[in-house]
């Protein structure tokens, strides 16, 4: 029988390999978390799979979309049946998701996000919200609500070979225990602009350091126009900066073409990209012709290996966040898989 404070023998047997990694306490924390996932696209599918396997208490999926042919690129819970194209997606996939782990409570909601914005109390019932593939104004609106209710928010999406994770987790304290290195960590030192070591205790007997890290977050609306990027990069790094950074930002302001075969207009993308460069305080020459070409073609497309990487990193970070043992991504991660790069910037 399941109790609040203890895992059952069945749970220990099922979660054996991960408990050995993150311990019983983290597993218990996962078991008490209620998560909302907005939009079940490629990244949403991967995140749901990973979190359900991990043993989250309950997950609600909010998605009012209908099945489109191109969804078959990444969304592996869809029935292999042409006749479902055009039907509501969630009812078609939820049973297959439930099969992954009967211990997790899964619910669906096919209301539109816009409608739910009229009654934001809905969001209050969740410990954490993951929103995928939203445009800028929707993200800002949602982030306003999550801020007001003090709910951590992850935002993620992909564009072909590229992907991103933005975080506004408001405030987070983690305590990790690590083998001490040659130089002991010191309290009140900054790891990044937004990550600070607040406390360190050293155990001589085990040669382990207990490090408390405070993460502070800014609203996502401030990330768009952050001017911190130049301060994070030296000359060489600035020269090597992936054009994926400004172009990913630019795509938040561009509407997904109605026709899936259609590319994003290269001219518009170039203009938006230049605007972003100026806002971020980086040279407009960062954006190369090659990348403009690739981004205009691959914008808003889904490619399974990339959704797997972003969905994996996202679910992993959510688990780390809930565990309170590791410091989470703070606050922008960009994946450029053509260059095998996955930097994290504190913007």
């Amino acid at each position: 029988m399941s109790t609040e404070e203890q895992l059952t023998n069945d749970e220990i047997a099922l979660y054996d390999r991960q408990i050995r990694l993150w311990g019983m306490a983290t597993q218990l924390r996962l078991r008490s978390a209620k998560i909302l996932i907005i939009n079940l696209g490629g990244v949403g599918t991967e995140v749901v799979k990973n979190l359900v396997l991990g043993g989250i208490n309950s997950i609600e999926i909010l998605d009012d979309s209908v099945v489109k042919e191109e969804d078959y690129a990444t969304q592996f819970f869809l029935p292999d049946d042409e006749s479902v194209v055009g039907q509501l997606k969630l009812p078609l996939v939820i049973d297959r998701i439930k099969e992954l782990n009967s211990l997790v409570e899964l619910t669906t909601n096919t209301s539109s996000l816009v409608k739910i914005f009229d009654d934001p109390k809905y969001f209050q019932t969740f410990n954490l919200i993951v929103a995928t593939e939203l445009d800028k104004s929707t993200i800002e609106k949602l982030n306003g609500i999550t801020r007001s209710f003090n709910i951590p928010l992850y935002v993620a999406g992909v564009h072909g070979m590229f992907g991103y994770i933005f975080t506004d987790l408001i405030k987070h304290v983690s305590v990790s225990e690590k083998d001490a290195g040659n130089q002991l960590k010191e309290a009140n030192t900054k790891i990044t602009r937004t990550k600070t070591i607040t406390e360190v205790s050293y155990d001589e007997k085990t040669n382990k350091e207990k490090i408390t890290v405070l993460d502070e977050f800014i609203p996502i609306s401030e990330i768009w126009k952050s001017n911190k990027l130049p301060t994070l990069l030296n000359k060489r790094q600035m020269k090597r900066l992936s054009p994926a950074v400004p172009l990913t930002f630019a795509l938040f302001d561009i509407k997904k073409p109605d026709d899936v075969e259609q590319d994003v207009d290269k001219q518009i993308l170039a203009e938006q990209g230049q605007r972003v460069c100026t806002e971020l305080g980086i040279p407009t020459t960062v954006i190369s012709e090659d990348y403009l070409e690739v981004f205009s073609r691959q914008a808003f497309t889904e490619y399974a290996p990339v959704t797997a990487i972003i969905g994996g990193a996202l679910a992993q970070d959510i688990i780390q966040f809930l565990s309170k043992k590791e410091s989470p991504i703070n606050n922008v991660l960009i994946l450029d898989s053509t260059k095998s790069e996955m930097p994290i910037y504190a913007l």
């Binding site: 023998n9 220990i12 047997a13 099922l14 054996d16 390999r17 991960q18 050995r20 990694l21 991967e46 799979k49 990973n50 396997l53 991990g54 043993g55 042919e69 191109e70 078959y72 690129a73 592996f76 819970f77 869809l78 029935p79 292999d80 297959r96 099969e99 782990n101 072909g160 070979m161 790891i191 990044t192 994070l232 899936v260 075969e261 691959q298 497309t301 889904e302 490619y303 399974a304 290996p305 990339v306 959704t307 797997a308 990487i309 969905g311 994996g312 990193a313 679910a315 992993q316 688990i319 991504i329 703070n330 991660l333 095998s340 790069e341 996955m342 930097p343 994290i344 910037y345 504190a346």
Partner: protein, 621 residues
């Protein structure tokens, strides 16, 4: 509009077409395999073969998302191939093989030859090394991957153009001296090793334990008293083992407890030299436990202890568990169904026995006692594994593997891996505040790598009839003629280490190859120059039906270098660190031979990462 609209946009129509017409193999259908197969299917590969020898267990289900409870004990490869049919949106052909990839009967060389890319999703060194070797033999691109907890990595391997799996030394599991395990344990792991590999092994398993090997012991200590004591301990266990079938449960376990936790310890205490700088162990005081244990045994409710993995048992409880599990094991042997029992972390009886015995020994040596959950990890060599790391690593694996098909490699003609190895990289997950992964450009093969450098490989093709008529002596002559060994001073080794010929051992020269054993289809022959002049030669035996003369690979053995020679090696003009021309043609239908002619173009060890060695590839005439 179509299902592959996105794939066309991301990969391009040409590549998509190529993928649809390609056949790849994925070896391993576990944690990485489940994720990787999903990615490969959704990337549009036309035909995917899956090999795994394992069956599904409960503890797989937290990450291997293609398996369900109802699949437990079923073949992983067969189950996974069925499971993915539900999202086989691009109609790939899936061919599962339940079996060991190292089995040359099931998977002969000719079978490997059909694939244009090898994806590894393995969990052990031995199989990885084997597949690496096959990739080198056949010059097939190989994607290597692995995860441990939050960490993971991929390594694309383009044979002879980039480092192979064996180019970098791998960490081998830590081992402990026999005397530490047997006489002077100081850590829980010492007691667990003792319980599993000595006590359990000596009592129940098929052969004698390595920890009772007198040679190993004598290499470690010259204390005659200790050596004698260790031998006596082991012999007494063998005597006890004989009584398993003849005694009843209670007397058997009591004898066992009295011997290993009292008698053996008292005798150990007599060896003064051991305890000069160590805390002495305290033998078990059986008289205080005998009655309480009997009491516990009569109360059936105590059996719940056996399934409580996280509780740290008291000494009394450990004795109780030892009694219960020991008598069950005894019953299993007595029933005649099993002639011996091997330790298996998933066999509760064996795990309970080992956990209780390890803990009792720990308590005697003042070492902390552990829960069964923690002991299982050490005894079973369990590596923590999670879904997310596997998903990320599989993503990078398929992404980087699919990159290969960007180029239109003519699978039957020349294969020049220069462009692809230039733009590929190894990827490690190592989560830092400012980056999630670290990538590194591929490096040229390690000069000292036993797999790809100081060893030439080739295929020795022969018909069955020739195998029946050719003698070993004739083969040796041909080897000498072909490769220029001095005065026939070479040795021939088959299988793992069986010597069948050297200059002083000619017993087999008159025998036909078929009579020697170890020279059959898919087997390996190692030829060594006893004068240490030429590098080793490894031949893969391929028995074919083709009516033609047996064929030794066309290759020129490189001179053997010893460690330290590299400094003295002269360097020829270095064209500004640029990549040197790679030439040669390979006909994939023939056996493939690769020569690395180092004698006319040696490079220094600390060369730039992407500098290619001069590689000459020849085809077999």
């Amino acid at each position: 509009m179509a299902r592959n609209t996105y794939l066309k946009k991301v990969l391009g129509e040409d590549r998509l077409e190529r993928l649809a017409n390609t056949k790849v193999i994925m070896i391993g259908a576990g944690g990485i395999g489940c994720e990787l197969l999903k990615d490969l299917l959704l990337s549009g590969y036309g035909e995917i073969h899956i090999v795994d020898l394992d069956t599904v267990t409960l503890s797989n289900l937290n990450r291997q998302f293609l398996f369900r409870k109802k699949d437990i004990d079923k073949s992983k490869s067969l189950t996974i191939a069925k499971a993915v049919q539900s999202f086989n949106y691009f109609n790939a052909k899936l061919v599962p093989h339940h079996g060991n990839i190292m089995d040359t009967t099931q998977f002969p060389l000719s079978w490997w030859d059909q694939f244009s890319f090898i994806y590894n999703a393995l969990d052990n060194l031995e199989a990885r090394r084997y597949v690496n070797k096959m990739a080198l033999f056949l010059k097939k691109p190989l994607m290597e991957s692995g995860t441990t907890g939050f960490e993971g990595q991929i390594q694309p391997i383009y044979p002879y153009y980039s480092e192979c799996f064996d180019c970098q030394a791998k960490v081998t599991p830590k081992t402990y001296p026999v005397c530490t395990i047997r006489s002077t344990p100081s850590l829980p792991v010492h007691c667990i090793t003792w319980a599993k590999e000595f006590l359990f092994h000596q009592l129940f398993d098929e052969s004698e334990s390595d920890l009772s090997n007198s040679e190993t012991i004598q290499n470690e200590t010259d204390d005659a008293q200790e050596i004698e004591n260790l031998a006596q301990e082991a012999n007494e266990l063998i005597e006890l083992r004989k009584s398993i079938k003849t005694t009843d449960a209670s007397p058997f376990i009591e004898q066992l407890v009295l011997k290993i936790f009292k008698g053996d310890i008292e005798r150990l205490l007599l060896i003064d030299t051991l305890w000069k700088s160590r805390k002495k162990p305290t033998p078990l005081d059986w008289s205080t436990y005998k009655a309480p244990v009997t009491g516990m045994l009569s109360d059936i409710s105590n059996q719940s202890l056996l399934i409580n993995d996280t509780k740290v048992w008291t000494v009394l409880e450990n004795i109780y568990v030892l009694y219960k599990s020991g008598s069950i094991l005894q019953r299993r042997i007595k029933s005649g169904k099993e002639s011996f029992i091997s330790f298996d972390k998933d066999d509760e009886d064996t795990l309970n026995f080992v956990a209780a015995a390890a803990n009792l020994r720990s308590s005697i040596f003042n070492i902390p006692i552990m829960s069964k959950f923690d002991i299982k990890q050490i005894a079973g060599n369990i590596i923590p594994a999670i879904a997310t790391t596997n998903a990320i690593i599989s993503g990078f694996s398929s992404l980087n593997g699919t990159r290969y098909f960007k180029y239109n490699y003519d699978q039957t003609g020349s294969v020049d891996f220069t462009p692809i190895s230039k733009e590929s990289s190894t990827v490690f997950i190592s989560i830092k505040p400012n980056k999630y992964i670290t990538a590194a450009a591929l490096v040229s093969p390690n000069e000292k790598c036993p797999s790809s450098s100081l060893l030439s490989r080739g295929v020795f093709q022969i018909t069955e009839e020739q195998r029946q008529t050719l003698t070993l002596g004739e083969l040796v002559e041909k080897l000498v003629k072909k490769y220029g060994y001095e005065e026939g001073d070479l040795s021939v080794i088959v299988g793992k280490s069986r010597l069948v010929y050297d200059i002083d051992f000619d017993d087999n020269v008159e025998k036909k190859l078929s009579e020697i054993g170890g020279i059959g289809d898919g087997e390996l022959i190692l030829v060594q120059d006893e004068n240490d002049r030429l590098e080793n030669l490894e031949l893969y035996v391929k028995v074919t039906d083709e009516e033609r003369e047996h064929v030794l690979p066309e290759l020129k053995l490189r001179p053997k270098k010893s460690v330290g020679d590299d400094q003295s090696v002269e360097t020829e003009e270095e064209s500004g660190g640029d990549v040197e021309q790679v030439d040669g043609v390979v006909n994939e239908n023939d056996a493939i031979v690769i020569i690395d002619e180092e004698d006319d173009g040696l490079v220094e060890l600390d060369e730039p990462a992407l500098k290619k060695r001069r590689i000459q590839v020849q085809s077999l005439a």
